[in-house]
Amino acid sequence: MVAAGIDFRLHPGERHALIGPNGAGKTTFVNLVTGRLAPSAGRVLLGGEDVTRRAPVERVKRGLARTFQINTQFMGLSVLENVRLAIFEREGLAWRMFRPAESYRAVTGEALAALEDLRLGPLAHRRVDELAYGESRMVEVALALASRPSVLLLDEPAAGVPAEGSQAILDQLARLPAHIAVMIIEHDMDLVFRFAQRVTVLDQGRVVATGTPAEVQSDAHVRAIYFGERAHG
């Protein structure tokens, strides 16, 4: 059992962090929500609609986007082409066969503007596999944002990024559109407590605590999980 009894709610515009030790089931939870894994029981509701049986693609069309823990981009393509692919899909243009992709100037313009917003503009024409790791983590975010989601799930956006890069990522996350509900999985507690309004703690596939960062930080059960301290009843 990798996830059980998880009753998780993400409200419009909320900044929510999902934390827990390795193997707690955080990424599994994201895979269940996005449809990469099918739950054996329970429901996934998106904007009130039951999307439990909907394919991942259909959930994306309904405003759900995610990033991946490990860089999962189109490494041999430029940063601009990466984002342009996402915009073509969103706009329903990806089935067009008789005009060059570059001729869709509005798409290219939007992609460049999106990259500028994330301070990736100068890297637009660089191949993703030529970027520094921290830069490529932001391309992950750019790809997800290009779908214009109402719900954004960020799986360890700062994973493997040095401290100064992590700060840059946090700065960008702070500038995400206010209407998007954002859930972030992170091990960087500094980033979590500066970013999140609410925090949920998972352990062995179950929710052990939910609350504000301060509430979670002082929760005895959470302290036991992270610091091995005994909970005193």
């Binding site: 991946f68 073509f88 990806a94 060059p100 992709a101 869709y104």
Partner: protein, 301 residues
């Protein structure tokens, strides 16, 4: 990858037109090469751009060849009608096969494509009343091209016809790979998981690519049948699929011009070795392939 026209895009066609005047006695070989260029281009679309490896793509080549051939035997000899029918039939077959085989991956996919080819080959062999079986389809009556150009014994009309069709096929594929659809195939080839995460219906997109590649292969087969007015059973052979794959690998997959390098290189080498050493020509062909691949690997390092 820019969509702008480059010298490299135009040069092979200029060379093909020049060959008409420089090698007037080799137009039959030239026609065979152009047919294979189109067939290999269809495999490049499948493998080089969509990332789908198939051992059975000759199934569609053969389907197109028999379609055009049988139509002309039965009195529908207009080559353009035969061409359109072959493309439609092969395209439809490609879509239906794609719906099945693209549920699988890797070795399973490979074996399924091969299985389909083998079944079709045996079906054509058994249906001798329709296809001529092992003797081949004979009695084709292909009408003059556009009602004006007779099929001459020197192969000039056949050469120009195959050149025109191959050129149109190339323009189609080139347009396709630079389009949003083509770029999405590149995305799927690079990272299918990510494409799904940005909302791409990956399998549907691949099925469409499979159908388009099958259509092109069918058209190549039809041209082959019409140009030589005969359809042999080997249009449905694994050897043909394998040879076309080798041509693409020789020329380079995913670059469009791979077909223009690989097909002529392989066919001219085969033809030359067969003339020089009829007994052991395959040995020399194998040596050439090994040499080219090892040279290229060394350069890549």
């Amino acid at each position: 990858m820019s969509h702008r026209l480059r010298v490299m895009d135009v040069a092979p066609w200029a060379a093909a037109v020049l060959a008409l005047f420089v090698f007037p006695r080799h137009l039959q070989l030239g026609t065979q090469i152009l047919v294979m260029v189109l067939f290999v281009l269809s495999i490049d679309l499948l493998l080089g751009y969509a990332g789908i490896i198939s051992l059975g793509h000759a199934a569609f080549f053969g389907l197109g060849a028999y379609c055009a051939g049988i139509l002309s035997v039965r009195g529908i000899g207009d080559p353009l009608v035969g061409l359109a029918a072959a493309g439609a039939l092969s395209g439809l077959a490609g879509l239906l096969c794609g719906l099945v085989v693209l549920r699988t991956r890797g070795l399973t996919l490979l074996m399924l494509t091969l299985g389909i080819l083998l079944m079709l080959e045996e079906a054509a062999n058994r249906a001798a009343w329709l296809t001529g079986g092992a003797d081949g389809l004979q009695g084709m009556q292909v009408a003059p091209l556009l009602g004006l150009y007779e099929w001459d014994m020197f192969g000039r009309t056949a050469y120009l016809y195959s050149l025109a069709v191959a050129f149109i096929g190339f323009v189609f594929v080139r347009t396709l790979v630079h389009s949003p659809f083509g770029r999405s195939l590149a995305g799927i080839r690079e990272n299918a998981v990510r494409m799904e995460a940005i909302g791409a219906p990956v399998r549907r997109r691949l099925v469409a690519a499979y159908g388009l590649a099958a259509m092109l292969a069918g058209i190549a087969g039809a041209v082959n049948a019409q140009a030589f007015q005969f359809v042999a059973l080997n249009v449905l052979s694994f050897e043909l699929s394998g040879a076309a794959l080798i041509m693409l690998i020789l020329g380079g997959a995913g670059r469009l011009y791979g077909a223009f390098i690989g097909a002529p290189l392989y066919m001219i080498a085969s033809d030359t070795f067969a003339k020089l050493d009829p007994t052991y020509w395959l040995f020399w062909l194998g040596m050439l392939l090994i040499g080219i691949v090892m040279f290229r690997n060394r350069r890549a390092r």
